[in-house]
Symmetry: C2
Subunit: 114 residues, 2 copies
């Protein structure tokens, strides 16, 4: 790979990678609605607190969320809400994929019950 461009792709990839996990996507969407502390997110997600904490630190390292300590809790919030715009495009990709599958099924004479 062209040596000059590589670090840029690396940096961008890190951000996408940070978003590329179901739990972290869930967190991003929740934080888009309102800020939340680790405890609240943990209850919603239903995993171990330490797991959620680590997911949050991945998002924080990627620069996608900010944290603020208030009292005994730490509140996280989304810092670049534009990442939510991705979802629309991703849904398009998913929809297209489903349609592709349905076409294949139809060509094979598979009867798709509605």
């Amino acid at each position: 790979m062209e040596q000059k461009l590589h670090p840029q792709f690396e940096a961008r990839a890190n951000i996408l990678k940070a978003m590329g996990h179901p739990t972290r996507l869930f967190i991003i969407e929740e934080l888009h609605k309102k800020e939340r502390c680790v405890n609240e997110l943990t209850e919603m997600i239903g995993a171990d607190v330490s797991t959620v904490s680590k997911h949050l630190s991945v998002l924080k390292n990627a620069g996608l969320v900010l944290d603020e300590k208030r009292g005994t809790s730490i509140y996280y919030r989304l810092c670049c809400p534009c990442v939510l715009d991705f979802i629309g495009c991703i849904e398009t990709v998913l929809k297209t994929n489903v349609e592709k599958q349905m076409n294949i099924a139809q060509c094979c004479g598979i009867n798709l019950k509605k």
Copy 2:
């Protein structure tokens, strides 16, 4: 995690995960410019052909690219160019991160040479 929502987050995450690799991001940008065969991409990237082929299959499985065989080559093209829109937002995140780091440096009295 709410069981109902989980598969949706899973599906979305898969697409972001597919994009979350420097080489694959490079491929996506190249294919945005014009379609390319495996061979051409391999030369640009400078890795083993088999490695590039596998990256392409990740992108294909995610539904991000399409392939078409012509003669002895297989040409790939981007199917949802909207994924390129992500880049703008990602660059914003990156820029914000750099600014954050610079502020920290400044607060610590670190002299940043221009």
